[in-house]
């Protein structure tokens, strides 16, 4: 594991893994969409609007999954001061924010016909909205300092503090009397969902996860190059005898 923690090694690994995750995610998307839009039955209560669930639920899972990963990267950065962890957090946060936004938008589009409202301030919806703001705060803080390492550390602390929101989101439907329905899949007993609906949901969830990994690899490579460019410019300005910029 330590071997891949070196940015040069990581670049090689990322290039090798990229075509696989990219291709597999496209295959999952294609087959998942086929089942989600064509080869699955309408729900006996929700009718055809159940199809929104096949993109809403994976978006929600990815919103949480990305956040947990950003927080883990933050912990690794703060404990071991590993530079790749900071780049990983920076790379993943905007992707997670997009998944959270998609979760909220698709949820609204389902809520309007099913609940008769685009939005309610219930525990689940509000805690997911807070998750979205946590992502925005992370991104703002990470870029708020001239010295990116300081920004990265400040953002990592925010990410770790915000982790308390993750179990709140997960259990909000059990702890409070919400309009949002409780989990149908991640229950201790068997999932309360028929295989004809489980297949598109799982295919798209796997596709979303692989897509997230693919995007993270691309974005981490960009972050590594940006850091290398910064170091190069720093060294150059020192060689050229220009007054060296001192970052606070």
């Amino acid at each position: 594991m330590q071997r891949f923690a070196n940015p040069g090694q990581f670049q090689r690994l990322a290039r090798a893994v990229f075509p696989w995750t990219a291709t597999l995610s496209m295959l999952c998307f294609a087959s998942g969409l086929w089942f989600a839009l064509i080869a699955s039955p309408p729900d006996y209560q929700m009718g055809e609007s159940v199809r929104i669930m096949y993109v809403h639920v994976p978006s929600a899972w990815m919103a949480l999954f990305s956040y947990v990963n950003v927080a883990i990267a933050g912990a690794v950065l703060l404990v071991w001061k590993h530079p790749l962890a900071e780049l990983a957090g920076r790379a993943m946060a905007p992707v997670g924010a997009c998944f959270t936004a998609l979760c909220l938008i698709t949820g609204s589009l389902w809520g309007q016909p099913m609940w008769g409202t685009w939005w309610v301030w219930d525990a689940r919806l509000t805690s997911v909205l807070i998750l979205f703001f946590l992502y925005l705060g992370y991104m703002a803080l990470a870029n708020a300092f001239d010295d990116p390492t300081r920004g990265g550390r400040a953002a990592a602390i925010l990410a770790l503090v915000g982790v308390v929101n993750v179990p709140i989101i997960k259990f909000s439907v059990d702890w409070w009397n919400t309009l949002h329905q409780p989990a149908s899949l991640t229950r201790l007993d068997a999932p309360a969902i028929h295989s004809s609906m489980l297949i598109p949901l799982l295919l798209l969830a796997v596709g979303f996860t692989l897509y997230f990994i693919t995007l993270t690899l691309i974005r981490m490579r960009s972050e590594i190059l940006a850091r290398r460019l910064r170091a190069l410019q720093f060294a150059q300005s020192a060689v050229d005898g220009e007054p060296r910029q001192v970052s606070a």
């Binding site: 009718g47 609007s49 199809r51 995007l215 960009s222 940006a226 460019l229 190069l232």
Partner: protein, 56 residues
């Protein structure tokens, strides 16, 4: 066919949901790849300007 696109009366909700997901996911891809290409070009230019320094 038109009854399929009507989505049992939920067309105004189902299709926008899929379109916005596709648009955001595609947008993320385009933005990420563009940034990577731009950074690669920037780094190449910077390295050409300082030939003494070799890439690690």
């Amino acid at each position: 066919m038109s009854s399929y696109f009507a989505m049992g009366g939920y067309a105004a909700y189902v299709w926008p949901a899929y379109i916005v997901v596709a648009a955001v996911l595609a947008g993320l891809w385009i933005a990420s790849v563009r940034t990577l290409k731009a950074r690669e070009a920037d780094l190449e230019r910077a390295e050409a300007a300082s030939p003494r320094r070799s890439r690690p």
